[in-house]
Symmetry: C3
Subunit: 192 residues, 3 copies
Amino acid sequence: MFTDAAGNLLDGSVLLKELFDAEPGQRPEIATRLKAVEHAGDDATHAIFRALNTSFITPFDRDDIAQLAGQLDDVLDAMEAAADLSVLYQIQELPSGVDAQIAILHQASELTVDAMPRLATLQNLDSYWITINDLENQADQVYRSLLADLFNNGTEPLRLFKIKEVVDQLEEAADAFEHVANVIQSIAAKES
Amino acid sequence: MFTDAAGNLLDGSVLLKELFDAEPGQRPEIATRLKAVEHAGDDATHAIFRALNTSFITPFDRDDIAQLAGQLDDVLDAMEAAADLSVLYQIQELPSGVDAQIAILHQASELTVDAMPRLATLQNLDSYWITINDLENQADQVYRSLLADLFNNGTEPLRLFKIKEVVDQLEEAADAFEHVANVIQSIAAKES
Amino acid sequence: MFTDAAGNLLDGSVLLKELFDAEPGQRPEIATRLKAVEHAGDDATHAIFRALNTSFITPFDRDDIAQLAGQLDDVLDAMEAAADLSVLYQIQELPSGVDAQIAILHQASELTVDAMPRLATLQNLDSYWITINDLENQADQVYRSLLADLFNNGTEPLRLFKIKEVVDQLEEAADAFEHVANVIQSIAAKES
């Protein structure tokens, strides 16, 4: 179930890249597809909660499973928000740092998809956690220098704040991947 | 205790509506009453923590109770912040989407008050969780189109950002209701 | 281990004060030193996670320990972000309310350092929790009146938003201290 949920994140990060590479006119249609992935994610979360409510046996705390499902959901919510806001605000051109943000999200999605099956054996989760933390630090640096450029380059205030809303959501998605990794680390700590 | 705490949220949402319907001159007095409700909420949270520290027996994890108390507190904090900022920033006129945000908060408060006694029996909590999640999705849509209108209608930047601060807190309150529902869902999952 | 981690927060709050008291030209060097403290904090967090993954016995839930380590990390992240952004945005002059924010962070750091050894005996943690909550309420008031001044005094929008980014991170650090106190309160509740 969690490998499926993480698969939605990977689909989401691929669509994000497609959206920001596309002509503005094509973006609404891609944002709609990303919204469908987010709905699939909501359904996956809800299926996990329903399964927890029935009598099935879990190898981990029900609590941890609920938390992990919620955190995976947060990643996809932030990705979808970034896409949706870029369409709603009719932003034509995004600064180049956005490409770097999306590349990091894509890498974090792949690492998370890879880590999920390892929850069964609790092997090699430490290296996953360290790499996600490194990626989150990189994301912070990209985010801040992107904002510093915007603020120091005399961007027109309204345009700046539209872009900032989108860029903030991408930064939130990177933070949310770290929260996912922290829950997994905490599960591994308890089970070891 | 939790039904009382949820009752504070309902009082808060009623005062929020009163405040945003009132003339600007009357708002400081209503904001003061909302701050009193927030203090009552802080006292309720603290009473729950104190009770946990004494030897009384709880039907649930102490941990979950502490988390639920904290999340209920977050809802009221965000409501009070919205009221307080609207007064501090001397905002005269709020966009019409704010009414829709407050109507959603009121509905979420009523659902939460209704759900609290059902924690004792763990009945019908699934439908509560689904409805709160639907409301949170609606809140997201209202929030984003409200911002898109503000950003695309040539609102003067400083006025836009004052309004955005208030509207952000209302959105945070809607998110916080979802966090409350997630903790309750997680309690129900563990106890079932 | 936690007393060491809290000691990093105290070092961080001292460097923050030094940075905002310094001439703008000296700030990059102080921000670099704060970044080194943050890296020491990351290492401390990781050492705690690694220790949890080995077979050593803990007096508390592994889960609570992981959460506490994460929350302490969040405080230092926010402090470091405030310092880094003030340098990146080349802010020359900060409003006077920033001094009050930093004084509160310093006080919260001292209280947290003092509280850590008391986790062993669970004595006097209630007064720590109450005082941190009071400080967080004060921080909210300082933050909001600082913003109200900026917004109502006709500050130029771009300058306003650079300052707001820094001030937001200082507010986030104060919130993060409250989250630390909530986890400690929850540990005390479970163990009592």
